[in-house]
Amino acid sequence: MTIAQFVILGTALFSIGLYGVITRRNAVLVLASVEVMLAAVNINLVAFDVYLADQLYAGQIFTLFIIAVAAAEVGIGLAIVLMIFRNRHDADVDELDLMRY
């Protein structure tokens, strides 16, 4: 196993997630695309942690932190989507132009 194969897989996942964030219109699916990008970052961190044989396991521990923060992000993101839906009866991110000049 080489380090490059894991990092290139992470890059591919990140690019796919970026494509999804730009092209998706439904707010829930934008959040799902962000999760794909986070999974890509996690693969990078764990691969480099194992490659460097880090004594502090910093890559794995940061991955655990990212998982916790991602859970918080999804919880609060879906609460915001729910509130927007309640006020506008729609979860389309294109309709959210209230703060445009």
């Binding site: 490059a4 890059t11 591919a12 730009i22 794909v36 194992v50």
Partner: protein
């Protein structure tokens, strides 16, 4: 340690890697392109399970099972509840994505990003092998580092999670109508 492409092809672990990486990528692609919103979220399970399997393959077993428990067990359910509660169209639906005027520039941007980063990675790390004798990381070793060296970040993350969940409840709950005095 440097491995040539011929050596790389003789290693069985690399075929396991390919067998895990391909479903991971296909699942991610379906997450961003599926026209059915429930299926898009369920394909996220495939991607996350693939990443969990890669973690276990790398010896990071605790992280792998945490992904299974937290992501596949909790976050996916949260997504499905979010879909049900916002009454998204459950069948096949074209309106979930932007038209081709957005898709084509987005695809170009993604391809350029992938090409540049993958080229840079291959240039810098190409052929550098992960040490083959790397064993599984014991959960006890992780716990010792988390609760000594990383204890302050750990506490901060737990506060972030608590405040995010309290904030989520505060945002999402319906305010009771005021009772006439």
């Amino acid at each position: 340690m440097h491995v040539s492409f011929e050596q790389w092809l003789t290693e069985i672990a690399n075929y396991v890697f390919a067998a895990l990486a391909i479903p991971t990528l296909v699942g991610a692609w379906m997450v961003v392109t599926s026209t059915n919103i429930v299926r898009a979220v369920l394909y996220l399970v495939v991607t996350l399970a693939g990443s969990a399997a890669l973690f276990i393959m790398l010896g990071a077993e605790f992280v792998g099972w945490t992904v299974v428990l937290v992501y596949i067990g909790a976050v996916i359910i949260l997504f499905l509840i979010g879909i049900m509660i916002t009454r998204a169209p459950l069948g096949s639906h074209e309106e979930l994505s932007h038209p081709a005027t957005v898709k084509i520039p987005a695809a170009l941007l993604s391809i350029v990003l992938f090409t540049v980063v993958a080229w840079a990675v291959a240039d810098a790390f190409g052929g550098l092998a992960i040490p083959p004798d790397v064993g599984a990381t014991r959960t006890g070793q992780l716990a010792e580092v988390i609760f000594q060296r990383f204890v302050i970040p750990f506490e901060v993350v737990s506060l972030v999670l608590l405040s995010a969940l309290v904030g989520g409840i505060a945002l999402a709950r319906k305010d009771e109508p005021e009772e006439p005095a």
